[in-house]
Symmetry: C2
């Protein structure tokens, strides 16, 4: 089985018919004409029980994760979220109480992020729960932050902290018993409830060159930016921002350590590149939003992505990120 | 388990936050701001193997059915289709050859209907194949044909022929062995390959009052129009347009006869109401498009829907249409 990126390129790219709205199916959104002076950024993600969440996860959190992974895509493009269309494929024996808690989670996030559900579909399935969300946000014309705009000489930046989602998944799978309870819970919470950086994204317009959210893993997603932009990305491991809980998990020897942090995915932070001249504004923005923004590396000419240790030596990584049809390697 | 309409009303309507774009989640599309003078009609349908199609149906036809059920929604609103976003949840063991044939079907329909795939998501599932499509079409501002605009005194019209989809489903299930082969194949084809009335829909703007496509069954869908419009619908059984194959199937005693035709669903014809003054234009349009348009009844004051026989007596129906969570009754 080919990986999902090859699959999309081979099967679906010809169906885009070269329309500029599709961004070659190689970005996180499509961009279509909106109200005067604006464009709709449209993204659509599917999540499946047993793949993207555990069937016995709290239903409200499943709903919130669905909303947030999509809003994270919009945020990373600089768009302000407005509307959702939800398609639900519920198992036939789904219970009313489960549905109520699912809807409560949705409601909480609609209120928190100022979005409304304006359509969708509700069907039944004999298989696991499948949810797909189409999210639409507005961005001023020609200001969306694309993957393809990184330039040699840019600094590479990351919002928030890295690795908490992947380490939280390990906690959910039963690892990390030796961790302080507060740390384990903090990681689990970050896995179950991504924090889409909706306040940050629109503020990056005019400052950042290229941008995307980290969902498949830092190195894989930086690879997407570099491939789309025709540049090389160099990340310094020492600069990677870890949370307190993340650092405790690494100290406790969880997962594959640094490799889990840079390839694990489920971060939903914004990874972006910006010219050195933007540094001061970015640090000011970080203070204003009370959100860590960390310079983690630089963009150079060439291709591919590299992770360097303190001595400037490349740290080899067995895999770059999650892939749906190989199970792991990407 | 409540039916899907109650479910949507109770769980998801509060999430629309009263936004006019949502049309109270009681129409087939959402309407959002588009390029100057236009609106995007946005619809999203999900189809599941074993529910909406047979797992061993030809993959190209599964793709085409998915496209067409969504384009049918757009057409019935008077919108011209432009863009698709496709989320696919393929079983992990899906074969390359299957995927190629699926993509070929998509490609054929993108070409036939002038639409492009501009985004989506590709994930894996341990369960049956699930496909969701978000379809977007353009309609001039404030001209979309809604469910809620039927008026007492209107005539009720239907495009094409009724019942072929439902009878085709029975053929797929092994009924109709006594039918001439050409009839059985014609019905099966109509079940597998809906004909969205994309040429008709936009031409109904300014002529029709209320409109929707028939997917759940004529009586159920007319009921939706009547409920949304606060009127009563009266259909005369003798006026219902049957295809040759459909008439042969009824003569052969397939299914529940007339009840299958008016409640079976999967028609994807446009059901609309129009004032008597529009009749001449509609008949001219029918000739121009070479598409049957049949007056099947009338709109009166009151509520609910009624099917009358030749003598003007009500024909009782045990059920109105398909429902996902009760399996049949709606």
């Amino acid at each position: 089985m080919a990986d999902e990126f090859d699959l999309i390129k081979r099967l679906f790219l010809p169906l885009a018919g070269g329309r500029p709205e599709a961004l070659n199916l190689s970005d996180d959104v499509a961009l279509i004409a909106g109200p005067p002076g604006q464009q709709w950024a449209v993204t659509k993600d599917a999540i499946v029980a047993g793949v993207h969440f555990f069937p016995d996860d709290p239903p409200g959190q499943i709903a919130q994760k669905l909303v947030r992974v999509n809003l994270s895509d919009l945020a990373a493009k600089g768009a302000e979220p407005r509307f959702l269309l939800l398609a639900t494929c519920f198992p036939q024996n789904v219970e009313e109480g489960w549905l109520d808690r699912f809807a409560s989670g949705l409601k909480a996030d609609c209120a928190m992020f100022g979005v409304a559900v304006i359509g969708g579909d509700t069907v039944s399935t004999a298989g696991p729960l499948v949810l797909t969300l189409t999210a639409m946000g507005l961005v001023p014309e020609n200001t969306a932050l694309l993957r393809s705009n990184a330039r040699s000489g840019d600094m590479i930046w990351l919002s928030g902290s890295l690795g908490d989602g992947a380490l939280g998944l390990l906690v959910a799978k039963g690892e990390g018993k030796s961790l302080p309870k507060a740390c384990a819970e903090a990681l689990l919470d970050r896995y179950r409830l991504p924090r889409p950086r909706v306040a940050l994204g629109p503020r990056l317009r005019g400052l950042a060159h290229a941008s995307m959210d980290v969902s498949d893993g830092l190195m894989a997603d930086l690879g997407h930016i570099c491939e789309a932009s025709g540049v090389r990305g160099v990340v310094e491991a020492d600069l990677l921002p870890l949370s307190e809980a993340g650092r405790a998990a690494l100290d406790a020897g969880m997962g594959e350590g640094l490799a889990t942090v840079v390839t694990g995915g489920d971060d939903y932070e914004i990874l972006f590149t910006a010219p050195p001249s933007a540094e001061k504004d970015l640090l000011g923005l970080s203070r204003e939003l009370d959100l860590r923004l960390t310079r983690i590396g630089r963009v150079t000419t060439g291709e591919g992505v590299t992770l360097l240790d303190r001595a400037g030596q490349e740290i080899p990584l067995a895999r770059a990120g999650y892939n749906h049809f190989r199970g792991d390697a990407g």
